[in-house]
Structure formats: structure tokens, C-alpha cells
């Protein structure tokens, strides 16, 4: 057999070999380079009308002029990560109302779990697809904006009565004098504790540790719950740092992590983790909240409203919640100051994607979404879990019966929400704040928790890495 095959001429061999390789490479390269070359924005002189020309391989170039025709059309995608069914249903209802007014419009909700949200969005951005309407964390939005994937929405904002929005929110979403996104809700974290086990909420960190220790009886009872994976670890770290007067970035936007306050905060966290918290939660993300409903954890920091929603999933009645759980301000750290203390707050925005053909429809939908009635129906799908970002919305939302029922919690929830902030944006707009969330900080926290690193070394390493990443990001401009 081998002798026969050897008789194939060298030329034949080369021909076939090159034919195969060439097919692969040519076909591939052709398709690859025929990729959409992004968007061509044509701005006619003297007007603010923007024409977006999108080219793709399969579709003919479509020209979508921005006009003010009342007839809206288009298929929109609304990307968000609100996986709870109550919120999905609330959004679905708003969409149905909108599409019944505009029969040519179709809007689809695309629900992406947090773990996937950023990668999904990045792939789509890299390839020129992407959401028409997007809702997510402010830090991801800053990334989007910096990369040119968001569109300014001044016109939407102006039509929505600007004085209805608290300036604190709007300042953070104003970039280069333009509004790029609208705040959708915010909610701060509180100290949640078992009121049937603990009489008085702790006043100092040592006090907190003592109470947690006293309520720990492994493996049936734990004084504290701390997850160190995904954003859950960051949330608690941020909360303790800010309670102790620490920060990620200083006022000039430089990294300022390796400070006494932050080291104290990490030490405080680790003490709680080692002595009072189930180690198994280390690799859990925000889903660790569900463990609270099993009733073996005495205290943690979380958003009370979210916990109430979890309780519904776990079959715990409202009455039982009131009997068993209470929330309070987390205690202030040894170097902290009552006046500057902040908790961690969940800030979500809603924005409109660039490079998309039906931006007008998307803008109209956004206006529709922010009509008080619709907006509040979304907010109150998770009562106490989302605090509205408009004054009129707040007034309406607080009329929900659950606010009356859980009136003990309401002042604390509102208070903590008003004095909360997010990682990286302690001092307002910071385009680089997303570097905190690359997963490096959590990995270091896990290493400290596993005693591979001392607290001081860990904090120094985080500081160094954040500086390095900031440098890298700045170079990429």
C-alpha cells in the first residue's frame, strides 16, 4: 500500500495539500474581513440629525434617518439581568402596554444572569451587535460609554421633567455635559440580624464580632454569613471600608487602597469569616443570601428588600419575617466618622445602545418607561428592594401596602440607601471604576481567607494590581 501511494507525483500532492489549506484560509479570511466595519456616522452640517449607516455582509445597507414621525417601528432588544420573575413580569407588562400603542414595534426582553452579563455584552459590542436598551450597573455603563457603545440621551431627559430627578444621580450620569443614561433604581445594604436571637444591634466592630461569636455553634448555627466570590465579596469589603472612612480611588482618580482604614476593614472581615461564617460560602456569589432563609445565620449585611423577595421563594410568610428579622445601620469602624460613613449601594442605570438602527423607538420606549405609572409598577414589583430615582416615583411607590406592613424597616432602608455608594465612584464619575470588578480583588480576598497571604500583603497586592490596571486602561484611550 505504502509503495503504491508513494507513486503519487509530488506535484499532485502539493496541489491537493495547498487546495485544502487555501480553502480553509481563504473562505475564513474572506468572511472575517467582510465583517461589519462598524458604524459610519454622518452628521449633516448645521443640523443635529444623525444618520446611521450600518453595513453587514448579508443585509443591504440600511439608512435610518432620525425624524420625529409619530409612527414607530422596529424590533428592539432590552437587555437586563433582573432574573427574578416578579421583575421580568413587570417589565413584560410595560412592554405590552407600549407595543399595544405602537403595533409596529416589537420589544424582546433578554435576561442575562450577572455572571454572563459583561461577557455577553462585550462579545456583542466587539462584533457590532448589541442591545437597543440596556440596564445594568453604573460601573459597567461607564465602561460601555468609554468604549462608545452608548448614546447620549439629553432629549429624553429634557422631555422627562429634569427637576424630577435628584441631582446626585444625574451628576453621576452626566459625562462631558451630556446625559448618557437614566438612573433606574438604587438600594443600600443594611445590617440584617435575627431579632429573636440578638436583643440590640451592635454599635462597634468589636461588639459585632462578640455577638457573632456568641451566636456561632458550628455546624448548626453561624453568627455571620460572608460570600467571597463574584461581587458579593466586593460588596461587603466596600461596605466595611466605607464605614471605616476608606476608599478605592482618591478625589483625583488615583488608586488609594493601601491605607490603614482599608487594612482594618479587611482584618475585620477576615475575623468574622474565620470564626463566625460558614467557609462553604467562600465560592458563592450574591446567591448566598438564600442561605439566610434557612434560618441558621444570625447576622449579615444585605439589602432587606431583596431578602424579603427571597423569603417568598423559600415560603416564609411576611409575618414570620417581621418576627424573626430586623435591620439596622452597620456599625462604624474604629477609624470611621459617622458623617462620612457609607454603606454599599446597588445603583442601576438604563441606557440606549449605540450602533443600533432603531434608536428613536428605543428613546420613545424609555420615555414611556419613565411615566410614573409604568415606572412605579416596575419598582414595586419588588417592594422595599428598589428605591425609585425620581421624586414623583418615590411618593407613589411608598404607598404600596408592603411599605406600610414593614414600616419598621422603611426608615433604615431609605436612610442607608441615601448614604450609600458603589466601588470606584465614591467621588462621582470615574470612567475606570470597572477595574475593581475584574475578579482580582475577590481572588486576593479568598487567598487571605485561606491564609495564603497576610492581610497587609493582600491589601498591598490589590493596591499594586489596581494601579497597574489603571495605567493599562489609561493607555488604551
Amino acid at each position: 500500500m505504502s509503495q503504491e501511494t508513494k507513486r503519487i507525483g509530488r506535484r499532485t500532492f502539493i496541489n491537493y495539500a495547498s487546495a485544502i489549506i487555501a480553502t480553509g484560509v481563504i473562505v475564513g479570511t474572506a468572511t472575517y474581513f467582510a465583517a461589519p466595519k462598524g458604524e459610519v456616522t454622518v452628521t449633516a452640517p448645521g443640523t443635529t440629525v444623525t444618520k446611521t449607516v450600518t453595513t453587514t455582509l448579508t443585509e443591504k445597507p440600511t439608512v435610518t434617518p432620525t425624524t420625529t414621525t409619530p409612527i414607530l417601528k422596529g424590533d428592539l432588544e432590552f437587555w437586563h439581568s433582573y432574573t427574578q420573575t416578579v421583575r421580568i413580569d413587570a417589565i413584560k407588562e410595560i412592554i405590552n402596554k407600549f407595543t399595544s400603542q405602537h403595533p409596529d414595534v416589537k420589544i424582546e426582553q433578554v435576561v442575562i444572569p450577572w455572571g454572563q452579563a459583561f461577557e455577553k455584552w462585550l462579545t456583542s459590542w466587539k462584533t457590532g451587535t448589541g442591545p437597543d436598551v440596556q440596564s445594568g450597573t453604573v460601573s459597567v455603563f461607564y465602561g460601555m460609554q468609554r468604549l462608545g457603545a452608548a448614546t447620549p440621551i439629553d432629549d429624553v431627559f429634557k422631555s422627562l421633567n429634569p427637576s424630577n430627578f435628584p441631582t446626585a444621580f444625574i451628576d453621576g450620569l452626566t459625562i462631558n455635559g451630556q446625559i448618557w443614561a437614566l438612573p433606574i433604581y438604587s438600594v443600600g445594604h443594611q445590617l440584617i440580624y435575627r431579632r429573636d436571637w440578638i436583643d440590640e444591634p451592635p454599635k462597634t466592630w468589636d461588639d459585632l464580632y462578640e455577638i457573632a461569636k456568641k451566636n456561632t455553634d458550628k455546624p448548626n448555627k453561624y453568627g455571620w454569613a460572608m460570600a467571597l466570590n463574584e461581587t458579593a465579596g466586593l460588596n461587603q469589603l466596600h461596605l466595611w471600608m466605607r464605614m471605616n472612612g476608606g476608599e478605592w480611588f482618591d478625589k483625583d482618580g488615583n488608586i488609594n487602597f493601601n491605607t490603614k482604614q482599608n487594612i482594618e476593614a479587611v482584618k475585620h472581615m477576615m475575623r468574622l469569616f474565620w470564626d463566625c461564617s460558614p467557609e462553604g460560602l467562600m465560592t458563592k456569589g450574591t446567591a448566598y443570601r438564600a442561605e439566610l432563609t434557612k434560618g441558621y445565620i444570625a447576622m449579615t449585611t444585605e439589602a432587606m428588600g431583596w431578602f424579603i423577595t427571597d423569603c417568598a421563594t423559600a415560603g416564609i410568610t411576611d409575618k414570620e419575617i417581621l418576627e424573626k428579622w430586623m435591620c439596622a445601620w452597620p456599625p462604624i469602624g474604629p477609624s470611621g466618622d459617622k458623617k462620612d460613613a457609607r454603606t454599599w449601594g446597588d445603583y442601576k442605570e438604563i441606557c440606549i445602545g449605540a450602533k443600533r438602527p432603531y434608536q428613536d423607538t428605543a428613546k420613545e420606549f424609555l420615555k414611556f418607561f419613565y411615566q410614573d405609572e409604568n415606572y412605579v409598577s416596575f419598582i414595586n414589583s419588588m417592594p422595599l428592594g428598589m428605591i425609585p430615582c425620581t421624586y414623583s416615583g418615590q411618593q407613589l411607590a411608598l404607598k404600596h401596602p408592603k411599605y406600610e406592613y414593614f414600616k419598621e424597616y422603611v426608615p433604615i432602608i431609605l436612610d442607608t440607601t441615601n448614604t450609600s455608594d458603589e466601588y470606584g465612584i465614591e467621588h462621582g464619575y470615574n470612567p475606570y471604576c470597572a477595574i475593581v470588578q475584574t475578579g482580582y480583588v475577590e481572588e486576593m480576598l479568598q487567598k487571605i481567607a485561606l491564609k495564603e497571604l497576610s492581610v497587609e500583603d493582600g491589601v498591598a497586592k490589590i493596591d499594586a494590581k489596581l494601579r497597574e490596571m489603571l495605567e493599562e486602561e489609561k493607555k488604551k484611550q
Binding site: 503519487i8 467582510a34 448579508t58 432574573t83 424582546e108 455572571g115 462584533t127 421563594t313
Partner: protein
């Protein structure tokens, strides 16, 4: 005599004992999963664990009420089926070509196919995503089917070419002497004789498709087009963990595989062996 009888029974008892241990190990977790999915909410979310207050199918109700579970299910079946047909057609052709003809490049091609089989797939995601987007196959079940069909091709070519090598060449040559062309021989003589092999490859492909998560998550974003694994993932990693409901969904996802295995068990055992010997 008594001794022999005793030995016989001791042997039987040992076998049954071992079989029970094996079944506990391999099937026990599934039984427990189904049992847990029948818990009521309150008893499920309790620690330490306790016997359920009541047995209920409310978790299953929830799955059908609040998620498009039926749609995901149909999508998964559809993708698995369509991609299976495309895949089997092309890879059996290639497997036959590689096994039967003395072409100088065959060895090289086999090597390349093994290369592709061992390549870690993350390097491929962005190019594949772009390609599919440009071809208009993004967010389309047909696109996903094509991807699955091709992605699993190296493995099935390896398996199937093993089968074709097993098939006696003399029968084919007899057919060719009678004047049948290559393609006719392939379709009329060879294919019917390696049905076990085809079924094995099909089953392998089906199982791979049924569980594939990553491409389904990247290439599909519309809810109506989702397949099961990404749908389960969003229940698993959402903001609220629906573990009881997740276990209920998981029980239902595990179910069809059992039926298919039951139906194809005979072929599978024969097929895998034959295919693997030369693979």
C-alpha cells in the same frame, strides 16, 4: 454438596450486594434529586434538613408557569436532532473516505482532525461568533444546529472511520465488480451494515448537544430560542436562587436521556466496542 450450594448462594448474595452498591452510587443521587424536588418550599429551605411536611409538585408548576420551559425543551430537541442529521451525513462520508481509500493525505487529515479535537475551544469563540453573525446565523436555532454539527465532527469522524475499517472490504469489492459506483456502494452496501455504529455516533452527538452550554449561551440571546443548559444556568446563577425549582427542572431534563438509552442500549454496547477498537 452443601459446600457447593453454600458457595453458590454466597456468590449470589455478594453479586446482589455489589449491584445495590453500584446502583446507589450511580443512581442514588438522581433519586434523591427527584425526592427533593417534591418538597414543599418551607421544608426545603430549612437547616438542619428534615422530612417534608407535604409532598407537592408545586416546584414543577412553578417551572412551567414562570419559565418557557416547554420552549427550551423543544428547542433543545430540535437543535440536537437537526445537527445530528447534518453531522452524521457529513462525518460518515468523511469517515468512509478516510477508512477506505488509499489517499496519501489521509494520514495527514486524520492528524489534523485529532488536532482540532484537542484544541481548547475558547480560542475559537470570537472568530466563530463573528462568522456566525456575518452569515446571519446569530440568534438562530439553525445556526446553532450547524455549529453543533460541525463542532462535534472530529469526534464522530474518528468513531465512524473505525467502523468503516471494520467492515469487510471484500463485500464492497464484490459490489464494485458488479458495476456499482463508489457512492452507490457506500449507500446501498456499507451504510445498512454499520447501523450500530451510526446509532452510537448519533447517541454521542445527541448527548453532547443536549448538554452543551457555552455556545448556546454566546450565540443565542432571545428567550424564545434558548436551549435548556443556559436556561438552567440562569436559574442557578440568578439574583435569587430557585434551587428547589432548579432541581425539578433538572429532573425533567435528565429524563429523556433515560428513554433514549433504554431504546438504544443494545446497539450502544455493540457499537461503541466495534467503533472503538480501530478508532
Amino acid at each position: 454438596m452443601a459446600n457447593k450450594l453454600f458457595k453458590h448462594y454466597a456468590y449470589k448474595i455478594m453479586i446482589y450486594f455489589l449491584v445495590i452498591v453500584i446502583l446507589l452510587y450511580m443512581v442514588g443521587p438522581f433519586v434523591y434529586m427527584i425526592f427533593a424536588s417534591l418538597y414543599d418550599k418551607r421544608s426545603f429551605w430549612t437547616w438542619p434538613p428534615k422530612w417534608p411536611d407535604e409532598i407537592t409538585i408545586s416546584a414543577y408548576d412553578w417551572i412551567f408557569k414562570y419559565t418557557n420551559f416547554t420552549t427550551y425543551y423543544i428547542n433543545s430537541l430540535l437543535v440536537a436532532f437537526v445537527s445530528m442529521i447534518i453531522n452524521l451525513f457529513i462525518s460518515s462520508l468523511a469517515g468512509y473516505g478516510l477508512a477506505r481509500f488509499k489517499w496519501r493525505l489521509n494520514d495527514l487529515i486524520m492528524k489534523i482532525i485529532i488536532f482540532t479535537y484537542i484544541f481548547p475551544f475558547f480560542g475559537l469563540i470570537i472568530p466563530i461568533f463573528r462568522l456566525f453573525y456575518n452569515l446571519g446565523l446569530y440568534d438562530s436555532l439553525f445556526g446553532l444546529s450547524i455549529l453543533y454539527a460541525i463542532f462535534n465532527m472530529p469526534f464522530n469522524i474518528i468513531i465512524l472511520s473505525g467502523f468503516f475499517q471494520m467492515f469487510p472490504k471484500e463485500i464492497e469489492e464484490a459490489a464494485k465488480v458488479d458495476g456499482a459506483s463508489n457512492i452507490m456502494t457506500f449507500l446501498k452496501i456499507v451504510m445498512p451494515n454499520i447501523v450500530p455504529g451510526i446509532i452510537t455516533a448519533a447517541l454521542f452527538h445527541y448527548i453532547w448537544c443536549w448538554g452543551e452550554y457555552y455556545f448556546a449561551a454566546i450565540l443565542i440571546s432571545k428567550d424564545a430560542l434558548r436551549t435548556l443548559p443556559p436556561a438552567l444556568y440562569s436559574l442557578m446563577r440568578g439574583e435569587t436562587v430557585f434551587y428547589r425549582e432548579l432541581l425539578a427542572a433538572a429532573s425533567m431534563v435528565a429524563f429523556p436521556a433515560l428513554i433514549i438509552t433504554l431504546l438504544t442500549q443494545k446497539f450502544l454496547i455493540k457499537g461503541l466496542t466495534a467503533g472503538a477498537i480501530k478508532g
